[in-house]
Amino acid sequence: MALLKPARRAANAVATIGLRSLSTLVLAEHKDGVLQPNTLHALTAAKQLGGPVTVLVAGESTTSAAEAASKADGVAGVLTAQDPCLARSLAEPVAALLQVVQSNRKYTHVLAPSSTFGRNVLPRAAALLDVQAVADVAEVKDSSTFVRPIYAGNALATVKVLGEGPRMLTVRPTAFAAATAQGGNASAQPVSAEELQAARDAAGVSEWVAEDVRKSDRPELGQARVVISGGRALKSAENFHTYLDPLADKLGAAVGASRAAVDAGYAPNDLQAVGISGAIQHVAGMSSSKVIVAINSDADAPMFQLADYGLVGDLFQILPQLDAELAKLLK
């Protein structure tokens, strides 16, 4: 009995801290001065945790992204870290900054969007803080319990973070609605000189050389309301444009692709169900869509088991018909 007492006292202490002083830091993703929408999705997850939410904006130039963050609904404060070493969000200086900001300010939760940016930086910062991060959180159960997909979305794991220290999460943007971009009125303040110096000290081991950004007028794939996705059956890159672009234009949709279509060179890799069989790896990325339409000549394609509506037939005939029907509707 005597042995049990200290443990119980410790558990009570954690519970009390949990209730009284929750606080969350969200690492903002921004590019060319624009706060990225996935940060707004991460803010919703942050809000569900219950404590005040601070947004950290780190970069070479932070003014406009920090202003956008301060206006977002539910943001209590904005921290800015502005320095040339933080340009292009290189992992080493940004993670070092996150480590020292967390060590100094002791948030109970540190979040980043589960984008290539967040997944690059947050685990590095977590290891510096000796914390096991939770990747790709799709649901917040309580301040230490989270649901995340495993096995390419074929299973959902509910995990509880043990021990003390901050809970560090990357947040699956599509699993949380975007916070409203207006309504907030948080003030922004810069991080301390010492905190900025930690980022500078970690920089220099990597340098940004170039980028090759896919230019498109269409909505970004991860954020689009409608996605039209092509697979191997499209047969060529020209067919991708000829058959999918008019439909995407009419629906204001993003164009996606299967791995097979990317490997065959029909579409760039960052576009990831027309002529798609429904292999588990592809399904992982799209099975939580509200409505799925499948068009495939193979009536036994696994995609039809997921689809709300299916059309069995030659996509080269069906797609122009679909385009004509949509044109009629939009007239």
Partner: protein, 253 residues
């Protein structure tokens, strides 16, 4: 020359195998199912082998953490071209931070000029180990790599990364940690003679205790469930019918 390249490989449920959640919801059923090398790890092994074939690396060492059977995964890597293997044997569940600590301990012994990993394992889908390892070693990282060019005389690697919206190229100082994306290369098949030769290659066995790493879990899995099943849909007869349904039933256009 980058000298030694260390490659981390993980044994996972084969990517084509059906995922079955255990009835008691304690995890995914791994009894009597095919296990293989994680596909992203295969790509990392292939890249290391190519660096050696291009005389940009002297030796390729593979390391795996896990139960006895992980030795099979190491033999596969050696059949693909790795020179020797280190098996950190444990029957415990080892989470990414602990894996990173074990790999950091092995890296301190082996002194590689480059560590290659897959960008994520297809079982826990964490996508953390490479980032955590580079943090613990204090080395630069280049994640989601689709192209790797070593400039060993300058002590640098130029890495093209698959990022949201396109590609990004970084130049990192060696030693560095690089994690492989699916598009980095096409892994070779191990030929029968190479599989036979791999049986004679050295495989050292160690343990978390010997490496001085505490692997106790920081995350407790409370339950594992199947995702909600989608209700079966309908097969329609024409494009006109589809547009009508999307408009009037699903109300999405």
């Amino acid at each position: 020359m980058a000298g030694r390249v260390l490659v981390a490989v993980k044994r996972v449920l084969d990517y084509q195998a059906r995922v079955r959640v255990k009835p008691d919801k304690s995890g995914v059923d791994l009894t009597n199912v095919k296990m293989s090398m994680n596909p992203f790890c295969e790509i990392a092994v292939e890249e290391a082998t190519r660096l050696k074939e291009a005389k940009l690396a002297e030796e390729v060492v593979v390391v795996s953490i896990g139960p006895k059977q992980a030795a099979e995964t190491l033999r596969t890597a050696m059949a693909m071209g790795a020179d020797r293997a280190v098996h950190v044997q444990t029957d415990e569940e080892v989470q990414p931070l602990a894996v990173a600590k074990l790999l950091a301990a092995v890296a301190r012994q082996e002194q590689p000029g480059l560590v290659l990993l897959g960008k994520q394992a297809i079982d826990d889908d964490s996508n953390q180990t490479g980032q955590m390892l580079s943090a613990l070693l204090g080395w630069p990282q280049a994640t989601f790599a689709s192209k790797l060019v070593l400039d060993a005389s300058a002590g640098k690697a130029t890495v093209t990364r698959e990022v949201d919206g396109g590609l990004e190229t970084l130049r990192v100082s060696l030693p560095a940690v690089v994690t492989a994306d699916l598009r980095l290369n096409e892994p070779r098949y191990a030929t029968l003679p190479n599989i036979m030769k791999a049986k004679k290659k050295p495989l050292a066995t160690t343990s978390p205790q010997e490496l001085g790493v505490d692997v106790s879990p920081r995350l407790q899995t409370l339950r594992v469930e199947e995702p909600a099943k989608r209700k079966g849909g309908v097969i329609l007869g024409s494009a006109a019918e589809l547009v009508d349904k999307l408009r009037n039933e699903a109300k999405v256009i």
